[in-house]
């Protein structure tokens, strides 16, 4: 197979798996009741995997496509705006931290998880004009850290086990 075709197929496969993971997550009961609306973000396992196995550009494309598809299928336009803000901010931070080679996959994923929330809360503060929403970040940092550890461990496992030859 030509390398470009192979890569296209791989990216399509990764996007599909991310979508399925989002669907499975939507079926599960909420994990944390005190502050509703919190989830682990299973699709981010794929994003972390693609970021480490393929690179920044590929991870960004897969991330944007899954957000568009998920928002059109299950969400609404507002969900799209919040997801995009979170995904873009966390992707930028993860790329910078990965380049610095200071943290492992898990650390980078934790930073990504926490800044996904930061991006969403900043968007909500801006759209709703309420600075007080910033206090949500205290709780969200803890949940983002837990999610990030989980996602990072799964992502690191995938990077380790799925052969480099797939590239």
């Amino acid at each position: 197979m030509r390398p470009a075709t192979k890569k296209l197929a791989m990216m399509g496969l990764c996007t599909a798996v991310a979508l399925v993971l989002a669907y499975i997550e939507a079926l599960l009961p909420p994990i944390f009741h005190a502050v509703p609306g919190i989830k682990i973000g299973f699709p981010n396992i794929i994003i972390v995997f693609v970021l480490y196995r393929f690179g920044f550009k590929e991870a960004t494309v897969v991330s944007l496509v899954r957000i568009l598809v998920i928002s059109f299928m299950f969400g609404n336009m507002m969900a799209l705006v919040y997801s995009l803000a979170g995904a873009i901010l966390s992707m930028l931070l993860m790329v910078v931290l990965k380049k610095m080679n200071f943290l492992s996959v898990v650390g980078v994923s934790v930073a990504g998880g926490v800044f996904h929330n930061v991006g969403q809360v900043l968007t909500a503060m801006w759209l709703l004009g309420t600075a007080e929403l910033g206090y949500y970040l205290i709780v969200l940092t803890f949940t983002g850290t837990v999610s990030g550890i989980f996602v990072g461990l799964c992502g690191a496992g995938l990077v380790k086990r799925i052969s480099k030859r797939l590239k």
Binding site: H33, P36, N76, M78, L103, A124, L128, T130, I138, I149
Partner: protein, 139 residues
């Protein structure tokens, strides 16, 4: 032989990264916990809630009296968040939003706490009456 050296350096590097991960996570959580504690200590019980829709203030209600407020949104006012104030705490009893996050939120009463309904752009925030003329904290 070469492989051995390489493996050892990879292992050493991964141990360094793991240690950095731990430091990063612990520092992050400590900072946020300190910030949260500080906020909790500085801010006491509030005495009123302010309701805004899409950033525009639509009403202020005292936490001292029990009331029920219908917050109407949507083009034909068809959407509802039912705000209830009872025993000094405010909560959303029911809502017509798809996610129901606001109605699952725990009752709020401390200054700065808020309940948000993103689909309806409704924000309910607790304020304290005397916040403007309260003295700064003396250390």
């Amino acid at each position: 032989m070469m492989q051995d050296v390489k493996n050892r350096s990879v292992e050493k590097n991964s141990r360094r990264l793991f240690r950095n991960d731990m430091i990063f996570i612990v520092v992050l959580l400590l900072l946020v916990t300190a910030f949260g504690l500080w906020i909790y200590l500085v801010r006491g019980e509030g005495d009123r809630v302010v309701v805004t829709i899409d950033g525009k203030e639509i009403g202020t209600y005292s936490l001292a009296e029990d009331v029920t407020v219908e917050i109407r949104t949507g083009l034909q006012n068809e959407e509802l968040n039912l705000l209830v104030i009872k025993d000094g705490k405010a909560y959303v009893e029911t809502a017509t939003c798809p996610d129901g996050i606001c109605s699952e939120h725990k009752p709020i009463s401390r200054e700065g706490e808020s309940i948000v309904c993103l689909p309806h752009k409704v924000v309910i925030t607790v304020y304290a009456e005397n916040e403007k003329d309260a003295p700064d904290i003396v250390v």
